[in-house]
């Protein structure tokens, strides 16, 4: 009964427009007051949630991505992708997807990808004769590889919630991320051929080599992060700091484009973005404590396993739930509430927590490109100056690709677990 009050007040607050972090806090507060539980648990649980060395890597990775972006890396990644893929029909569309994959290696989020690559490529695609809705759809859908290809902010959160190895989670996301990227190129190509979208000029090997050298430093950063964490050279938090220093050095000494005067403001906005996530994590820690004390995870596990004990059905049920929640709930919030609740179900049907973590993250980030509240869809439509409805129609084949990869992740453990197993 009390648990019902918690959920109903939480959902009501969300739909009344209360920020998600505070909806968690306020619904927990209502629960504590009605249950006559001392309120001093609030700062205690928040403090415990925030006082974590692992979560420290969040601002590090955000800052490294921001520094690389303003330091001129985006243009170079796009240029490199275009020099390889541009010659094919629909080349600029394919380069858009390729650039997202490159960008994903320095950024742990999807929105940064949509905004940075979209700002350059959507106008360029429109100018070459691609449909505005198609250009926005390619940009939005390809950006979801951002939080799948390492580094990834949602994976850090999942790893922290369930004490899983961040390095393993990062590595487990690599293959699904590459599969999504390559998969998205298929509808991009087919549609481009059908609509006779243009192809770019063929570039000489010398030009390709030159553009590769431009993007090389960004690609190297991904390798340093992964090799450092998996090779045991440093922890994820240390890796994020290495990434910051690396991005700073490359921006100042190699690309020479990093505007020093802007750095304090970039650092501040990194901290406020991080704080907005951390307050969510803090309140979620309180909310999660209530869930556990009400035995909700076990209850959910019993309910789902009561419907069916067939692992295939159970996994499909979880995927359906996550996709549904993902359409209206912010990624991190959805993960902090549902991951600990659903993990016991997954382990009971014998699923590896790492595989389950990647599946949950992927199911949630698909919501970033679906209506009604997909932010990447929203931002890409804005840049393309086209309605969300039109972009959504164009998105359908791309969403199909994502769902296929999601099912591969869910049902073929090797897709996620093969790479991490190499480092054991």
């Amino acid at each position: 009964m009390m648990a019902l009050l918690l959920f109903i007040s939480f959902i009501a607050l969300i739909f009344l427009g209360v920020p998600v972090a505070f909806s968690l806090g306020l619904s927990s507060l209502i629960y504590l007051i009605v249950g006559d539980i001392p309120l001093n648990i609030i700062p205690q649980k928040m403090f415990a949630g925030l006082n974590s060395f692992v979560l420290l890597c969040i601002p590090g990775f955000i800052l490294a991505g921001n520094l690389m972006n303003v330091g001129g890396i985006t243009d170079r990644i796009i240029n490199f992708a275009n020099s390889i893929l541009g010659r094919i029909r629909g080349g600029l569309g394919l380069a858009n997807v390729g650039a997202s994959m490159g960008f994903a290696g320095i950024s742990g989020t999807a929105l940064a990808d949509t905004a940075s690559i979209g700002a350059i490529l959507i106008p360029a695609m429109k100018k070459e004769g691609y449909g505005a809705a198609f250009s926005s759809a390619v940009t939005a859908s390809s950006s979801i590889v951002g939080p799948i290809i390492p580094p990834s902010l949602p994976m850090i959160i999942v790893g922290t919630l369930a004490s899983l190895s961040i390095g393993d989670l990062f590595m487990a996301g690599a293959v699904p991320g590459i599969l999504i990227g390559l998969g998205l190129m298929i509808p991009t190509y087919i549609i481009s051929v059908k609509r006779n979208y243009p192809k770019g000029e063929k570039r000489s090997l010398k030009e390709i080599w030159k553009s590769f050298l431009g993007a090389f430093w960004a690609l190297l950063m991904t390798i340093i992060i992964l090799y450092g964490i998996l090779g045991g050279l440093f922890t994820p938090t240390e890796a994020s700091v290495v990434a910051v220093i690396y991005a700073f050095v490359i921006g100042i000494f190699v690309y020479k484009e990093l505007p020093i005067k802007k750095i304090p403001e970039i650092m501040l906005s990194t901290m406020t973005s991080t704080a907005a996530i951390m307050l969510l994590v803090g309140f979620a820690n309180l909310f999660g404590w209530i869930l556990v004390s009400e035995r909700i995870p076990q209850m959910v596990a019993d309910t789902i396993l009561g419907i069916s004990s067939n692992p295939v059905v159970v996994i499909l049920l979880i995927i359906a739930l996550m996709l549904f929640v993902g359409t209206f709930m912010e990624t991190i919030a959805g993960l902090v509430i549902l991951f600990p609740v659903l993990l016991p179900v997954a382990t009971q049907i014998g699923m590896d927590p790492i595989q389950f973590g990647v599946m949950m993250v992927l199911a949630m980030v698909i919501g970033l490109v679906t209506p009604p509240v997909g932010v990447c869809l929203f931002v890409a439509s804005q840049i393309g100056r086209v309605t969300m409805g039109k972009v959504t129609l164009e998105l359908i084949p791309f969403l199909a690709v994502m769902l296929i990869v999601l099912l591969l992740v869910a049902f073929i453990p090797q897709v996620t677990l093969f790479l991490p197993s190499l480092f054991e």
């Binding site: 920020p19 309120l39 700062p43 403090f47 060395f53």
Partner: protein, 165 residues
Amino acid sequence: MSSVLKWLTRILGFISVICFIGVIVIVAMQILSRYFPYSYIWTEELTRYLFLFGIATAAPLALLRNEYIAVDIVIARFPEKLKKVFDILIMTSLLVISIIMIKESISFVQIGAPQLSATMPIKMGWIHGSMLIMSIFLAFFAIIRLGYIFRNKKNPYEVEGGGEI
């Protein structure tokens, strides 16, 4: 008033950025120390605490800058007047929870007062104070934003996007 607010945001922002720089420098030291004969046991703990204060000062700024993600599909369809009523209710509820957090954080600071940190000569009460600082400024900025709503004034600190990843 607006110049006081401006300075306050600058001071909080400055503290937050300094804490962040501190984190970067100390973690870098921690990595380097592996290649040198001396090592530091306090680095991990100090970085966590700096991060806490960095967040405690940035979280209220994020409120002022409207960086907390909300689902506004329902209230976006409301007429202007009703929307204003909801904005007032939302900000008031944020104010209420912040005030409760101030009260509870004070006792949390008192709990930590006699305890000593694990690796440094610092009383945990000071560290617990991060929650108090955060709550006080969350409440303060909720009041500021209520002021903007009541006076039909656009919040000049608001940024687009942010927060959502």
